[in-house]
Symmetry: C2
Subunit: 171 residues, 2 copies
DNA sequence: GTCTATAGGCCGATAGAC
DNA sequence: GTCTATCGGCCTATAGAC
């Protein structure tokens, strides 16, 4: 991976996340990245393919952020790590999240099953904690984490919410 | 309001909700609506203004859907009506919701305070039901409703979730 | 007065050629 | 890395049909 190619990816991530895919032109990316516009097409062929490579990176990044939760065996710790996950994310990763949530609404983008592994992990956790309906509890927890992440990204999150959740789950 | 103007608004709502604002050209709207492209500019001046008029309609529609919850006085009924709200929404309104959730991520669009009145209603409700932290409970309930709506719109909602929630809230 | 059809200007976007 | 071609998007203008 050359330096310029990385610059293009980084800049495109930021602009796509901020303005949206359609609203971001390749020339805007080139200018912001300090490269010639042609280089984008040399490396990625076309604009759509640039987005595709970005989404692979995004998925890897997000999987990496979930890893500590997957590896945790103590069920209470799983819940604590899950609830506080959005808080522990470094600001440099925000664009990845933003892009992810933005692109959910694009008609082409349809990998609904992406969250299934984490849902299974949650279900196991609630089973271990003797919750009555672990499957539904997993869905609820997943919704809560997503909502917190969205609130943080939209800059309307209130810190008091976390201790409230910890009490709810008796942590 | 003339028929053609309504057709333009209706078609634009659908296309903006489906493809996004930037990705939808005025010529595409005109073709889909069966009108000449010039008519769009005659009625709305420019594309941005068309979106603006749509957003006013959208806000009115959504306010109207929340009205029964606002008018309900029995706190348990408030919760039941809230939890089942996304289910009770007719499919013809889906595009309004979709547009709303899509546009949250646009940089210009920043009316965070829009959900404050419903949050207040929820807080009163939880206070009446003697919940310990009504403010946080209101946030949680709001997150749940939004998540359900999103799941429905993204076609990944499971009906079993509603009875689970009703049990949670002892309804 | 509402709308269509058409023509065209201007600009920016994608892409290929060199 | 630049240059250029081509296309499509936004918008204006006008002449005329309903």
């Amino acid at each position: 991976m050359t330096i310029k190619k990385e610059q293009i990816l980084e800049t495109a991530l930021h602009l796509f996340a901020k303005e949206g895919y359609s609203a971001t032109s390749t020339s805007k990316i080139a200018k912001a990245a300090g490269v010639s516009e042609g280089l984008i097409f040399r490396h990625f062929g076309n604009k759509k393919n640039l987005l595709k490579e970005l989404m692979i990176q995004t998925q890897e990044t997000i999987n990496h952020l979930f890893l500590p939760i997957f590896e945790e065996t103590d069920p209470k710790e799983v819940l604590i790590k899950t609830i506080t996950l959005p808080l522990r994310i470094d600001k440099e990763y925000y664009d990845y999240w933003r892009l992810q949530y933005k692109l959910r609404w694009e008609p082409e983008y349809t990998n609904n099953n992406k969250f299934v592994p984490i849902l299974n992990k949650f279900e196991e956790t609630f089973t271990a904690l003797n919750y009555k309906e672990p499957k539904q509890e997993a869905i609820l927890l997943n919704q809560i984490v997503n909502s917190i992440a969205i609130d943080i990204l939209l800059d309307r999150f209130n810190e008091d919410y976390i201790p409230f959740l910890k009490k709810k789950y008796k942590l």
